[in-house]
Every structure is written in C-alpha cells, then in structure tokens.
C-alpha cells in the first residue's frame, strides 16, 4: 500500500516576484529629509499630535496629514527589551537592546537600538541622542542613525512626560482650529 512510502517532508518551490513599489506622498519627503540628516514628522491638526515616522494618515482621526515638523534627534526611552537570541539574517550580535524612543517634540514613539552603555543601565525615562553614521554614507533610510546613546541627563518621569505631551498636543490642536477659523 502507498502508506508504506517514505513521507516527503520537503521539496523546493521557490517563488520570486518583482515589485516596483512607490514610497507614497507622505513617506517620500521623509526619506528625502533623512538623507539630509533631518527627522521629519507630521502634525495632525485633528489631534494636535506630531506623528513620527509619518504615514500620511492620522491613525486616531483617519484624516490625511501633510504639515511637516522637523524633530530633534534627542528623545526619551519609554520602553525597551534586550535581545539575547540571534535573529536569523540579522547583522546584530546579541545581546543588544531595542527601545521605543519618544523623540523630543513627537507624540508617537519610534523603535531603534541603544548602545554605548552597559545593557543593565538602560532604563525607562533614560535620555538618549542619535549617533549618526558619517554623512558621506547617508541614504534614504533610518539606518543613517546607527543607534541611540545615553546623554547622561537624569531620568525623566514618564507619567509627567505623557501629561506634558497631551497638554502640548491640545494647545497645537486649538491653534490649528484657530488658524482654520481665521
């Protein structure tokens, strides 16, 4: 009977598709800016929040965003994890730390690496600054920032930071509304 046949556990079925993707109206200016060493976010007038990285839509309101805001390359760690297992295909050698970083002036965290410090010293509220690769190798990628490193400033109270961000977003929202009324 067929049931006696050796099971076939694997066969090759390679699939290749070629795509000519477009980077969209929102992401194209971001990619140009990062090549100049600038971090470009979007202001959502509906919520007053500054979105980074910008996707062209405010996920809270669903409205299109286009007002550019240049952000600082300093920020605050609001969460992190230290990876101890190698990731297939990755150049990163474990252990390494990945953090959610709230750039100063932004209301949305972005993810990046933390280095130049003892892994055990990384903490929520830690102030960090971007370490850029040499300008000669900059391209249209966030990889232009190699990693973030601690600034040495004291830890920030995350709850207070959140309240401050929400208050500032409310002010920007009112200002945007006022601008529309005028």
């Amino acid at each position: 009977m067929d049931i006696d046949l050796d099971p076939i556990e694997q066969f090759d079925a390679p699939i290749y598709h070629r795509y000519h993707a477009t980077s969209s109206r929102a992401i194209t200016p971001f990619l140009h800016a990062v090549k100049r060493g600038e971090l470009l976010g979007h202001l959502s007038t509906a919520t007053g929040k500054v979105l980074f990285p910008p996707l062209g839509a405010c996920p809270e309101s669903g409205e299109a965003t286009h007002i550019p805001v240049i952000l600082s390359d300093t920020g605050t760690v609001i969460g992190f994890t230290t990876v101890h297992l190698p990731i297939p295909g990755s150049k990163l050698v474990p252990p390494f730390t990945v953090a959610n970083i709230l750039l100063d002036g932004a209301d949305q965290a972005c993810s990046h690496l933390i280095s130049e410090c003892d892994i055990d010293s990384v903490a929520i509220g830690m102030r960090v600054v971007a370490v850029w690769r040499p300008a000669e190798v900059w391209n249209n990628s966030l990889e232009n920032i190699e990693y973030f490193k601690p600034t040495g400033e004291p830890l920030v109270d995350i709850d207070a930071l959140q309240q401050q961000c929400l208050a500032e977003a409310e002010q920007r929202k009112e200002a945007a509304k006022g601008g529309q009324d005028a």
Binding site: H17, E60, G62
Partner: protein, 353 residues
C-alpha cells in the same frame, strides 16, 4: 430577513498606474466621499470590512496599514477578507442579518501596477500540481476561452463584439480606463497574447480603490432619497482544479442565481453588472444566468473598461447602485467572482426602493 440597503458608493478613477499615492492615501478621500454621500460620519458606522491581497502590493499586512485611513479611535469592529471586497460586503450583510450591526462601510483596494499581476495570480493555484507551472491568469482564461470556442456556441467575433459594447458603454463612465468607439474587424486584426485571447479581450491592469456603505432599513439615513435594497444574495464555489470543471459553463453561477431569486421573488432585471475580466466570460455568464437581450449588460463598461483587482466585484454592486439611481432602472443583478476561470460566483439581486 432584514432589509439591507446600499446607501453610498464611491470609487477612485481606475488608472493604469498611480505613481505617487499608496493604498492608504488613495483610500482616504474616497472614504470621505462615500461618507459625505451618505450624510454619515465614521461614528455612524458599526463595522468596517475590506477585501485586498498582500501579494498584489507586495507588502505583508498592507491591509492592516489601510486601517489608518479609518481612524482607529474610538476603535472599530473590523474584518478583512483575502478575497474580492464583494465578499467583505457579504460578511457585512450576514452581520446585519445576525442583528450584530446596523451599518457597515466596505472597501476594496488594489494597486496592481507595482507587480506583474498575471504572474501574481498564479499563486492562488494549488501548490503541488498547478502553481509550479506558473499558470498566469491570462493563460488560464485562454484555456477557458478555448473551451468555449470548442462548444461552437460562440466565435472570436463574438468575443470582439463584447469588447466593442464595453468600450462604447464606458464612454458614459468617467472613472473608466478604456472607452471609445472601436470596430470588430479592427479588433480581430490584433495579435493573440494567449490564444484565442487578444489584448483587448483582457481587463486592463488598474490601480484604484472603492468604498460602499450599507445599512439596515431601520438605520437608513433620512437624506437617502433612493436606497437600493439587496433583495437576494448567494454564492457558490466549484472545484479548484481546472481539469475537473466544465470551463465553458458556470454551474455555480446558475445555482447562486436560483437561490438569490427565491429570496428576492424577482425574476426580471433591467441591468446586469457582471464581473467578467475576460470577454468570453461575459458570454459564459450571460448563458449561465439566462439573460436575454432585454437586459442591459455592464452599462458601466464592466471590468473590461477598468478592473480594480480585489474590488472589481464590489464595483459591480456600486455600478448597479449608480444605475439604479435613475428612475427608469428599478432592478439589477450584480455578479462577483473569485478564483481562476469563474471558480466561485456570487449573485445579488438589487431593487431601488
């Protein structure tokens, strides 16, 4: 059954290539247009459901990115089908029948220009017997067209006549990609691409998005003057392997029609919008549905005039809805399909109320 009405429909232009915008950016203004037409806001929408395929955009979870266009606060009841958005409509219709929701916003999107659509479509075949052969969608449609010719019911001239009609009617559809006056003789002089299909027998590669809003009759916005009710809806699926099926017929379409008719109690249709991506499929469907010459088939031009992959079925509902806004049209048949060579077919009977 609960009475479910289509209250708004909006579609982007059906272009050959959208060079700048991504799917989210294409969707946002079209959602706004549909909501404005219905005099609704997202707060009035109980459920959103979409149809798309990540293989088309070449990006994993591209449908999740599209949720940004809806505004996620407050969070919405949301679902997605990796099928034509007509099946997202069906899921929404079922949810209304179950009494879970009273309104739904349905959208479909496809940016086919970024990849090689006929090759991408070969990935829907089974992985052991068919997919390793890379059967592109045009070649599979060629097999079906050839099977139809073998029955001697139709000739290549009939295929060309379908195209002439499509292009002529599409002149009145501002979102059509292909429209105009052509002649059968001229078309028949064109070379084959996958015989017996010529380029014009195939739907054009199209980038675009569509949005449709339905509500329970009890939640009908007061501003809606001429709602369009879904009186009957059914879908049936055939075997996946092409060799098992009689490709020159569409038994699942006939079955779905019988079910939809028995729900609706309607036998006559003023118009029919058929999801025939290739000209011979129009003839196969016309026979399977028993449509006579009294029925205006694809007044929008149909998919041969513009074909948003993953939304072309939803567009048949939308184009029927638009036709039913005119007082002289009261009943319509909307057809949607999924899978190669009309494998899976949906029939809905619509009536202006």
């Amino acid at each position: 059954m609960r009475e479910v009405a289509i209250v708004a429909y909006a579609q982007s232009p059906q272009v050959r290539q959208e060079k700048v915008l991504n799917e989210v950016e294409m969707l946002m203004p079209v959602i706004e247009t549909a909501l404005t037409e219905a005099a609704m806001t997202m707060d009035d929408i109980d459920f959103v459901c979409s149809g798309s395929c990540d293989y088309i955009a070449g990006g994993a979870f591209s449908f999740v990115g599209a949720v940004d266009a809806l505004g996620a606060t407050p969070s919405k009841m949301e679902s997605h089908v990796e099928m034509d958005a007509a099946w997202a409509l069906y899921e929404s219709w079922l949810k209304i029948q179950a009494g879970e929701i009273s309104s739904a916003l349905i959208y479909g999107f496809g940016k086919s220009s970024v990849g090689d659509l006929p090759d991408v479509m070969s990935q829907q075949c089974d992985p052991y017997y068919l997919a390793p052969l890379w059967p592109d969608s045009i070649s599979m449609a060629g097999l079906q067209a050839s099977a139809l010719l073998t029955t001697r019911r139709y000739t290549e001239r009939d295929f060309a006549e379908v195209v002439v009609e499509s292009r002529r009617k599409a002149k009145a559809n501002p979102s059509a990609q292909l429209s105009g006056d052509t002649e059968v003789e001229e078309l028949l002089r064109a070379p084959y691409i996958s015989s017996p299909l010529r380029r014009h027998d195939c739907c054009p590669i199209t980038d675009g998005v569509s949005v449709l809003i339905i509500t329970d009759k009890t939640a009908l916005p007061e501003t809606i003057k001429r709602p369009v009710y879904i009186r009957g809806i059914d879908h049936r699926m055939e075997a996946h392997q092409l060799g098992i099926r009689v490709l020159s017929e569409s038994g699942s379409t006939t079955q779905a029609l019988a079910q939809a008719k028995s729900q609706a109690g309607i036998e006559h249709f003023d118009i029919a919008e058929l999801y025939a991506a290739f000209s011979p499929q129009t003839l196969i469907l016309k026979d399977a549905l028993g449509l006579d010459d009294q029925v205006d088939i694809n007044p929008s031009g149909g998919p041969l005039a513009g074909h948003i992959m993953m939304s072309a079925g939803l567009d048949r509902f939308g184009m029927s809805f638009r036709a039913l806004q005119k007082s002289e049209v009261t009943t319509a048949l909307a057809h949607a399909t999924s899978g190669p060579c009309l494998q899976h077919n949906m029939i809905a009977i619509l009536e202006a109320g």
